[in-house]
C-alpha cells in the first residue's frame, strides 16, 4: 500500500507519546521499591485496574488484528473476539482470587507458594519469557503497520520507535505508569471505537464507497469486443484460474479471465532487477488502490444502490442478504518476475456472516482442519488466564475482592469492545479502505475514510495500545528474570534496589529481542500471531495453575514437568505447522498439519502433571499448607 503522512495525524501522535512519557516521568519519581516497580505497590483501585486490564488485553491483536481479519475473512475473525472474551471466564471463576492470595510479584510466586522449588522457579521464569516474547511479536508487528500510514516511515522504523519508547517507559517507572497508561488508553480506545461504529452505521451501505477526500477506484472490465486500448501480451494459468497480462501505453497490467470478459486485478510485481511495481508502475506513480466494496445490496428483499443510515442489527442483516467483493491473493511467476495478484471475488454476505472463510470447518473441511479449529478455540478459552502480563495485574490491587471486581469491569469493557469489532471489521470490508498488503490497518484506514482527525486519534490510541501492552509484557519478562530467576532460582537474595536495577536491565534486553522479532514477522495478521501466544500460555501455564489451586496431590516436580512439556510441545507444533513451514522454510507441504497446538499440548501437559505428581507424592511431605 502507498501511504503519505498527514500533519494533524503526526501532531496528535506526538501529543499522545508526550503524554505517555510525561506519565512515566511522573511515576518514576514515586517508584523506589521492587513492590512499586513490579506490582504498583498493590495500591491500584479496582475500577482503574479493570479498565487497565482492558487496556492490556485490547492490544494490537484486538483492534488491529481482529478488525483486519473480520474485514478480510468475515465471521472467522469474530471467533477471536468470542474466544478472547470467553477466556476471562476462566480468569474470573477459577484464577483471579486464589492467585491474588498466593502471589507477590509474578505468577511463578503463586505456583511456587506451596513448594519453594527451584524446578518451578526456573520452569515458570522460562515459560513467562517464552509466552511474553510470543505476545510481543504481534505487538511490534502492529506498531510497524501503524507507523507506516501515520508517519510515512517504513515498517522497521515503526518497530524501532515502539521498542525505544517502551524500553524507556519500563526502565523508568514500571507497573504504576504501565497501569495508568493502560487505563487512559483502554478507556479512549473503547470511546473512539464506539464513535467509529456510529460513523459506520450513519454512513450505511453503498455500491460506490466514495468518501469526502477519497474516491473509490472504478474497476475496469474488458471484453474481446472492447479492449479499451489494451493488448494481451501474455497468459498464465494458476489454481484453475486464467490470468492475462495486457499492455497499454507501455504499462503492463494483469486481468482475470472469466469466459469472454477480463476483470481488472491489482498486482505487485517484484522484477528480476529488484524493482517493485504496483499495477505495472513505480510506487511514486501512486497507481495502487484501496479495496473492498459491495457487488449487490439487498435490503428487505429489494435491491438498492445505497441504504442511508442503518441501525446495528439492520446493518448486519443487510450485509447478510447482499454480496461483498473481496480481493484474495494469488501468486505466480511471470518470466523471472514474481507477481502477486489481488483478484475480485464476489462472496455472498450470508457466507461472510458465518464461520468458514478462513477456518475450513464446512465445505472442503477434513479431520485436521476441524481439529485445528477446535484447538484454536480451546487456546483462546484457556489462554487468557495464563498470560503473565495479565496475571501480574492481580498483584496491583489491594484485596481479593478488588481482584474479582476489577476482572468484572474488564469483562464488561472488553465484551462491549468485542461486539464493536464485528461492525468495524465489516465496515472496513465494504467501505473501500482495505490495504491488500496488510489486514492489520483495516480499522485505522476505515477511520481515515471518515476524516483525518478521527484517523489520527484512533491511530494514536492504537499506537498507545501497543506501547501499553508491550510495557506490560516487558515488566512481566523483567520480573521473570530479575525476581524469579536471579533472586529466587539463583538465590542471589538481591536488595530491593538491586532487584529493580536487574529488572530494568532485563527490560532493555527483552526490548531489543522484541524489536528484532517484530521486524522479522512483518505482514502477518497480528491476531493470528496472538493465537499462538495464547496456545503456548494455555499449554505451559494453565495446567500448572489450575492443578496447584484445585488438586491437593500436585507436587513441585509435576508442576515443573508440566510447564516444560506444555511449552516444548506447543512450540514444536507451531514451528512445524503449515504457516511456519510455508513462511520460513519455503515448504509447500507442512511437517505436520496443525497450526494451533493447544488441544495436544495442553492435554499432554495436564497428563504429565498428573502422572509425575502421582509418582512423586513423597515430595509433598515438605509442602507448605496455605489456607
Amino acid at each position: 500500500m502507498i501511504y503519505e503522512a498527514s500533519t494533524i495525524a503526526v501532531v496528535l501522535f506526538f501529543v499522545f507519546v508526550a503524554i505517555v512519557l510525561g506519565l512515566s516521568f511522573y511515576f518514576a519519581a514515586k517508584t523506589k521499591s521492587s513492590s512499586g516497580y513490579f506490582a504498583a505497590g498493590g495500591t491500584i483501585h479496582w475500577a482503574v485496574n479493570g479498565i487497565a486490564f482492558a487496556g492490556d488485553y485490547l492490544s494490537a491483536a484486538s483492534f488491529l488484528g481482529i478488525c483486519g481479519m473480520i474485514a478480510f475473512k468475515g465471521y472467522d475473525g469474530f471467533l477471536y473476539s468470542i474466544g478472547y472474551l470467553a477466556g476471562w471466564i476462566v480468569a474470573l471463576f477459577l484464577v483471579a482470587e486464589p492467585l491474588k492470595r498466593l502471589g507477590k510479584f509474578t505468577f511463578a510466586d503463586a505456583l511456587d507458594a506451596k513448594f519453594n522449588s527451584k524446578g518451578i522457579q526456573l520452569a515458570a521464569a522460562i515459560s513467562t519469557l517464552v509466552v511474553s516474547l510470543f505476545y510481543l511479536i504481534p505487538q511490534m508487528v502492529g506498531a510497524g503497520a501503524l507507523v507506516t500510514p501515520l508517519l510515512g516511515f517504513p515498517h522497521w522504523v515503526g518497530v524501532m520507535i515502539v521498542g525505544a519508547i517502551v524500553i524507556f517507559i519500563v526502565a523508568t517507572a514500571g507497573m504504576t505508569s504501565t497501569t495508568y497508561v493502560q487505563f487512559i488508553k483502554g478507556g479512549l480506545l473503547i470511546i473512539f471505537s464506539t464513535i467509529l461504529t456510529f460513523y459506520i452505521m450513519n454512513n450505511g451501505l453503498s455500491l460506490k464507497p466514495d468518501h469526502d477526500d477519497q474516491t473509490y477506484h472504478e474497476y475496469i472490465t474488458l471484453s474481446d469486443d472492447n479492449m479499451q486500448g489494451f493488448t494481451i501480451v501474455g497468459e498464465i494459468d494458476k489454481d484453475e484460474m486464467h490470468f492475462v497480462k495486457a499492455e497499454k501505453d507501455g504499462v503492463f497490467r494483469w486481468f482475470l479471465q472469466e469466459g469472454d470478459i477480463y476483470k481488472e486485478a491489482l498486482s505487485i510485481t517484484d522484477t528480476e532487477s529488484g524493482d517493485r511495481l504496483y499495477n505495472g508502475k513505480p510506487k511514486e506513480d501512486r497507481a495502487f488502490y484501496q479495496v473492498g466494496h459491495l457487488a449487490k445490496i439487498v435490503i428487505d428483499g429489494k435491491e438498492v444502490t445505497e441504504t442511508g443510515p442503518l441501525g446495528p442489527m439492520k446493518y448486519l442483516s443487510t450485509i447478510g442478504q447482499s454480496e461483498i467483493v473481496s480481493f484474495p491473493e494469488v501468486k505466480f511467476e511471470d518470466g523471472g518476475n514474481n507477481v502477486k495478484c489481488y483478484i475480485q471475488k464476489t462472496v455472498p454476505g450470508a457466507k461472510v456472516l458465518m464461520p468458514g472463510l478462513k477456518f475450513k470447518i464446512g465445505e472442503g473441511a477434513d479431520f485436521w482442519s476441524r481439529l485445528n479449529f477446535i484447538s484454536l478455540m480451546l487456546a483462546l478459552f484457556l489462554g487468557t488466564a495464563s498470560l503473565p502480563h495479565i496475571l501480574i495485574r492481580y498483584y496491583t490491587v489491594p484485596s481479593q475482592r478488588a481482584a474479582r471486581k476489577s476482572t468484572i469491569v474488564a469483562i464488561a469493557a472488553i465484551g462491549f469492545f468485542y461486539v464493536l469489532t464485528l461492525f468495524m471489521g465489516l465496515g472496513a470490508s465494504v467501505n473501500g479502505v482495505l490495504d491488500v498488503e496488510s489486514s492489520n490497518m483495516s480499522g485505522p484506514l476505515l477511520a481515515k475514510a471518515f476524516g483525518v482527525g478521527l484517523f489520527a486519534i484512533i491511530s494514536a490510541i492504537a499506537f498507545a495500545t501497543v506501547l501499553g501492552t508491550v510495557s506490560g509484557l516487558i515488566v512481566a519478562s523483567s520480573g521473570a528474570i530479575a525476581h524469579d530467576f536471579i533472586d529466587r532460582y539463583l538465590g542471589k537474595n538481591l536488595t530491593d534496589k538491586a532487584k529493580v536495577r536487574a529488572g530494568k536491565i532485563a527490560a532493555f534486553c527483552v526490548g531489543i529481542v522484541a524489536i528484532v522479532l517484530g521486524i522479522i514477522f512483518k505482514g502477518m495478521n497480528v491476531s493470528f500471531l496472538v493465537g499462538w501466544a495464547f496456545a503456548v500460555a494455555a499449554s505451559a501455564n494453565l495446567p500448572a495453575i489450575l492443578m496447584v489451586l484445585f488438586w491437593k496431590k500436585t507436587t513441585a516436580k509435576g508442576v515443573a514437568w508440566s510447564i516444560i512439556v506444555g511449552a516444548v510441545l506447543a512450540l514444536g507444533i507451531i514451528l512445524t505447522g503449515p504457516t511456519n513451514c510455508a513462511k520460513f522454510y519455503g515448504m509447500e507441504t507442512a511437517i505436520q498439519p496443525l497450526d494451533n497446538p493447544a488441544i495436544i499440548s495442553f492435554t499432554a501437559a495436564l497428563i504429565t502433571l498428573v502422572i509425575v505428581s502421582l509418582v512423586s507424592q513423597k515430595d509433598n511431605a515438605t509442602k507448605i499448607d496455605i489456607k
Binding site: 471466564i89 474470573l92 477459577l94 491474588k100 458465518m354 481479593q400
Partner: protein, 94 residues
C-alpha cells in the same frame, strides 16, 4: 524462601464457598461455549440459519456468548459479595 504478598490480605472465611460457586459457573459457561464450537465442526450449515430478527445463529450465538459472560460475571460478584459480607462479619464477631 517464602514471602508474603504485595498487599497484606486479611483472612477470607467465604473463600471455600466462592471457589465452589466459581467452579460451578465455570462449567455452565464452558458447556455453552463447547456447544458453540461443536455446532461449528459438526453441523456447520446450522450456523447460517436465520434464528432471531433476521440474524443467523452464528451472530446470535456469538453475541450471546459475550453477553452471557458479562451477566455471569455480575451474578458471581453479587453472590460472592453477599458471602463475604455475611461470613466474614460472623467470624469477626466470634
Amino acid at each position: 524462601m517464602q514471602h508474603g504478598e504485595a498487599a497484606k490480605l486479611g483472612t477470607d472465611h467465604a473463600q471455600k464457598k466462592k471457589q465452589k460457586l466459581g467452579v460451578w459457573l465455570f462449567w455452565v459457561y464452558t458447556i455453552v461455549y463447547a456447544i458453540f464450537v461443536a455446532i461449528g465442526v459438526t453441523n456447520y450449515e446450522m450456523m447460517g440459519k436465520i434464528v432471531m430478527g433476521s440474524q443467523n445463529l452464528a451472530v446470535v450465538f456469538g453475541f450471546g456468548l459475550i453477553v452471557f459472560a458479562i451477566i455471569l460475571g455480575i451474578v458471581y460478584n453479587q453472590i460472592c459479595t453477599g458471602y463475604e459480607n455475611k461470613l466474614n462479619k460472623e467470624e469477626d464477631k466470634k
